[in-house]
Subunit: 152 residues, 2 copies
Amino acid sequence: MGPQSTEVETPRLAAAKIGSDVGLLLAKLHATGSLLNNKALADYGLRERSFSVLTLACSGLEPTQRELADFLSLDPSQVVSLVDDLEHRGLVKRAQGKQDRRAKIIVSTAEGRRIHNKARAALEVCEQTQLEGLSEDENLQLRALLKKALWG
Amino acid sequence: MGPQSTEVETPRLAAAKIGSDVGLLLAKLHATGSLLNNKALADYGLRERSFSVLTLACSGLEPTQRELADFLSLDPSQVVSLVDDLEHRGLVKRAQGKQDRRAKIIVSTAEGRRIHNKARAALEVCEQTQLEGLSEDENLQLRALLKKALWG
DNA sequence: TACGGATCATTGAAAAAGTCAACGATTGTT
DNA sequence: AACAATCGTTGACTTTTTCAATGATCCGTA
């Protein structure tokens, strides 16, 4: 996204009412975070989204592509592309759905889990950096609030 | 973004470790929020971004386009488009920078402020809906944490 | 003062991402 | 058995993002 400055920007405009808009706050934090996350994940050939898919594939929950699309707020066709890519690189596999033969279950390969562990470590360092303004407590609090906002 | 279901989805996958990834939580909340926000703003011919620009223009802070780009995490050329649109509709005006004649200061018109007030009211209802899972306290807490994460 | 490098807004082109309708295969329902 | 609905997939189309180039202006330095 836009400005790739690593330096801290002057928040002269943060004083505006918009600085309290949840929507904009989310957009901004997400934007700056994505930049860092994608940079950290690039070493493993991943981006935020492919990492998300890989994580779910490694979770043991055996998600279908439809579930991935719903959960990640993506169009089903986008999931096809993401899974295609990961599958070509041997990180995940498509397996036939158990109850429903239309559905495809996405599961990780051993190599996929290996990459995922490394990428996750890098990402956690990254998140630490991004939220360094928050104390450990606040960090947990933020996660809890975001989860609650999403799923009650 | 992806699925436009208004119904609450089953968070079967929220159990995965990814459900604690700040990056993904932000992405998801932002995605679902954007959908609602843009729907609410459509009545006024605005979207999240043009609303953000309009808000800053109405703030009295007299932002330059460069500042808008930095603050909103946008490419400068995207700001040009957004301001072009708002200006053609008579909601903002470009004024010459005071110290720097290269810069253009974006200020709102009376009509712009009128629209902005209406849109803001609609948006607040929208945010209320989006965060209905949170108590009033938690709502404030979330805003505070997001702000702190962004600007310390 | 004049030069040189940097920054501002702007343009336009190229790449990426998102949206959407259609399809075959399969499911569940009547 | 017939029907509508759902899953993954494809391809077309639109929107968004990214990036390099440009003229105008600013700033530091000789």
